[in-house]
């Protein structure tokens, strides 16, 4: 990727005998970001995934607020089992698309599963996005420093990364999950007596209680971020190692540009593509990691739910009440799939070697 706005056509200047300028501008010039955006929108699957993902996010946050049921309240089960009332094949019975009382069914104690699923989606999305953003940020910073300065700095940092890679995620999750309250730095945010809870019971302080205190999902997100930044650091380091050898960096250095400026203005913009792509992959991986953690009991705790926790809790109900297993799983699948497609679309969009010839 070049630093200069890429121009796709041959921009002609008037010849020595005038005229002809209008004959040369047969293809418009575009800036680099314009090119990326245009290539991305060509990738129909990525575009579609973005739309689907936005719909899911909307549904999870706005839809849940508008829905008549809350995820904690219980109601008597519809015809004893709590099967979904969503008419899956619309118009065939002549009823049209019927949503019914409990479109996703009810769980074993009568909670509306639609609301539960949406709640789970919210929390999973928050955890994954937090993990992705924090992980990318830390990873990029460390990778950039290691890749740019090389030498001892690089060595030391990469040894840390190597050590970090050997520490199992589950262990970290277990440690931090169980002992967050005791770790001095974390206790005032995530401990039993979290300052932000003002001394009250987390269930009484709903919004803040969700995010801080002993059942904090923010903590979970941070734990996942802590493990994910390692891979991004490696990737970014690789990018910086190769980008710093580019001629324009050499030129900038020859001009006396300070290092910070070189990183900011020359290397970072060209690494942005890889970073963004890896960030999206990280977010989708985070969702799956959260599911795995929940399965092993190290995920979201307390009364709150995430998609992973839902799927794990109801795995044994599969034979009797399959909808309890299907819905959250499908949501996980759709979200992860969409993010992966978007990441793929972004990768294609940023890669200048892709020639999209129309077939």
């Amino acid at each position: 990727m070049s630093n200069v706005p890429a121009v796709e056509s041959a921009v002609g200047t008037a010849g020595p005998h005038g005229g002809g300028a209008e004959r040369e501008f047969t293809v418009e010039a575009r800036s680099q970001w314009g090119l990326v955006r245009r290539r991305f929108f060509h990738h129909k699957l990525a575009l579609g995934s973005m739309i689907v993902l936005l719909l899911v996010i909307l549904l999870a946050f706005v839809g849940a607020a508008l829905w008549k049921y809350n995820y904690t309240e219980t109601s008597p089960r519809v015809d004893g089992r709590g099967a979904p009332t969503l008419d899956a094949i619309p118009f065939i019975d002549g009823d049209g698309l019927a949503v019914g009382e409990h479109p996703f069914g009810q769980d074993d104690i009568g909670r509306d599963y639609f609301a539960l699923t949406l709640r789970g989606t919210q929390q999973s999305l928050i955890i994954a996005t937090l993990a992705g953003l924090v992980g990318t940020f830390i990873g990029t910073a460390i990778g950039a420093i290691a890749g740019f300065y090389r030498g001892r700095v690089d060595n030391i940092l990469m040894r840390f990364v190597d050590i970090g890679l050997t520490i199992p995620l589950l262990l970290l999750a277990a440690v931090i999950g169980r002992r967050a309250g005791d770790i001095p730095g974390l206790s005032w945010l995530f401990g039993e007596n979290s300052l932000l809870l003002f001394g009250k019971d987390p269930d009484d302080v709903p919004v803040i209680g969700d995010y801080f205190g002993p059942n904090s999902i923010i903590l979970l997100g941070l734990v996942i971020a802590f493990v994910s930044w390692l891979t991004i650091a490696r990737v970014v380091r690789g990018e910086f190692l190769s980008l710093r050898e580019k001629e324009y960096v050499e030129a900038a250095r020859a001009l006396g540009t300070p290092n910070g400026r070189i990183i900011r203005k020359h290397i970072l913009p060209n690494a942005v593509g890889t970073i963004i792509v890896n960030a999206t992959l990280l977010i989708s991986a985070a969702i799956l990691i959260e599911t795995a953690l929940s399965y092993l009991g190290l995920g979201v705790r307390g009364d709150d739910w995430s998609l992973g926790k839902l799927v794990s809790s109801y795995q044994n109900a599969f034979t009797t009440r399959p909808w309890l297993f299907w819905w959250p799983g499908l949501f996980i699948l759709v979200i992860a799939l969409c993010i992966n497609f978007i990441g793929d679309g972004l990768r294609d969009a940023f890669d200048p070697r892709q020639t999209r010839e129309r077939r």
Partner: protein
């Protein structure tokens, strides 16, 4: 050059072309294959007629080659000159079916009467590397990094002849030696990354001639190399041509390269041939302003060129080629009529010299055509004309 081929016989397993009686080489006499039909000097080997190549792109149809025709006779060197992007490489690759499947090719290209375009891969395969060989531009990437150089050359032989690996390697070493690679036996076992750029290109030349082709297409063979190495490569190419008795199609943007080697020259611009003639004709008496401009923009030892005169402007986009002559925006001789019709190749005052320009006669009267592109000021500075005469011309 003693050849193993002569000893083992040409057990070519593919295609009918090589089995035609006039093609069977007789036994080697004074180091050159003698073909049964001895009067081949004027028979055109490769005839291209109205070749057109289009690529679909996001912005529309890119017309890379817009009706190109030429022919090459045996042992002749045909030079094809033009700027980057004028379609010279594309037209060469179209001949051997090396363009991506999205390319739309029309026209005809016949090698000894056999049509090359639009035929299934299996038929072309017997010609590739055997009768028509190609040398590409960038030697650094043209060879597979994981196999030895000798191995890749041997592969080229065994693709067309029944031969044991050992015999093929001997032939490979023979060829490496021929192109001037020192210590060829040891070098054959080396990997491409252990060769320098010039040596790699020599190895590519060796790969091209290893099966005694009739035509060698050299696509910008010197562009990626240093100037000193360029001269060596061209020399090697010249020697090789003598040894093998092949015709060469030399594609380049560098006039200097053409000057030394080519018998006849075709100048390409914007996907068409705009001038065609012998090397002397084009160099001394160009009849198309573009060719004149090209000549004027290279430094030379004599003539009024203390200032290098580029041709201002850039080639037109080939996605929507403009009406009329594509060179108009940059042409100092353009008149109204030039904007309307794109001229075909017209005969000029010299035999076998054609130019796609309706003003070739005017150009013929200009004394030093290389000065054509100078602006008025430069001509005044050079003391060639009086300042009062400077006007829009």
């Amino acid at each position: 050059m003693r050849s193993i081929l002569a000893r083992q016989g040409n057990a070519d397993e593919y295609g009918q072309v090589t089995n035609r009686p006039e093609e069977v080489p007789l036994e080697r006499v004074d180091d050159a294959p003698v073909y049964a039909s001895a009067t081949t000097a004027d028979v055109p080997l490769l005839v291209v007629d109205d070749l057109r190549v289009r690529f679909p792109t996001d912005d529309g149809q890119l017309q890379a080659v817009r009706g190109v025709s030429w022919e090459v006779k045996e042992r002749e060197v045909l030079g094809i000159v033009g700027e980057s992007g004028c379609g010279k490489s594309v037209s060469a690759m179209a001949l051997l079916g090396l363009l991506p499947p999205t390319a739309r090719i029309s026209g005809s290209a016949k090698f000894r009467g056999q049509e090359l375009l639009g035929v299934p891969d299996r038929e072309i395969r017997s010609l590739r590397g055997r009768k028509i060989a190609m040398i590409f531009q960038d030697p650094m990437t043209s060879m597979n990094p994981v196999y030895t150089v000798g191995g890749q050359l041997a592969e080229a032989v065994r693709a067309h002849f029944e031969m044991s690996n050992k015999a093929a390697m001997l032939r490979a070493i023979e060829m490496l030696d021929l192109v001037g690679i020192p210590n060829a036996k040891a070098r054959a076992k080396s990997y491409p990354h252990e060769f320098s750029g010039g040596m790699r290109q020599r190895a590519m030349i060796a790969m091209a001639i290893i099966n005694n082709p009739d035509v060698i297409i050299a696509d910008e063979p010197t562009t990626a190399l240093d100037v000193t190495v360029q001269a060596q490569i061209l020399e090697t190419l010249q020697e090789v041509k003598e040894e093998v008795g092949a015709a060469i199609i030399l594609i380049t943007h560098d006039l200097g390269v053409i000057a030394g080697m080519a018998d006849r020259v075709k100048v390409m611009y914007a996907g068409r041939i705009v001038e065609s003639g012998t090397a002397e004709q084009i160099f001394d008496t160009p009849r198309m302003p573009y060719a004149a401009g090209l000549l004027g923009s290279i430094p030379s030892m004599e003539g009024a060129s203390d200032v290098l005169t580029p041709i201002l402007g850039t080639p037109p986009s080939l996605v929507n080629p403009p009406e009329g002559c594509p060179f108009v925006p940059r042409c100092p001789l353009a008149i109204d009529e030039c904007h309307h019709d794109e001229p075909d190749l017209l005969s000029t005052d010299q035999p076998e010299h054609e130019a796609a320009c309706i003003r070739w006669e005017h150009l013929a009267t200009v004394e030093d055509p290389r000065l054509l592109f100078r602006t008025g000021d430069e001509l005044v500075d050079a003391g060639i004309i009086d300042p009062e005469l400077v006007s829009e011309s």
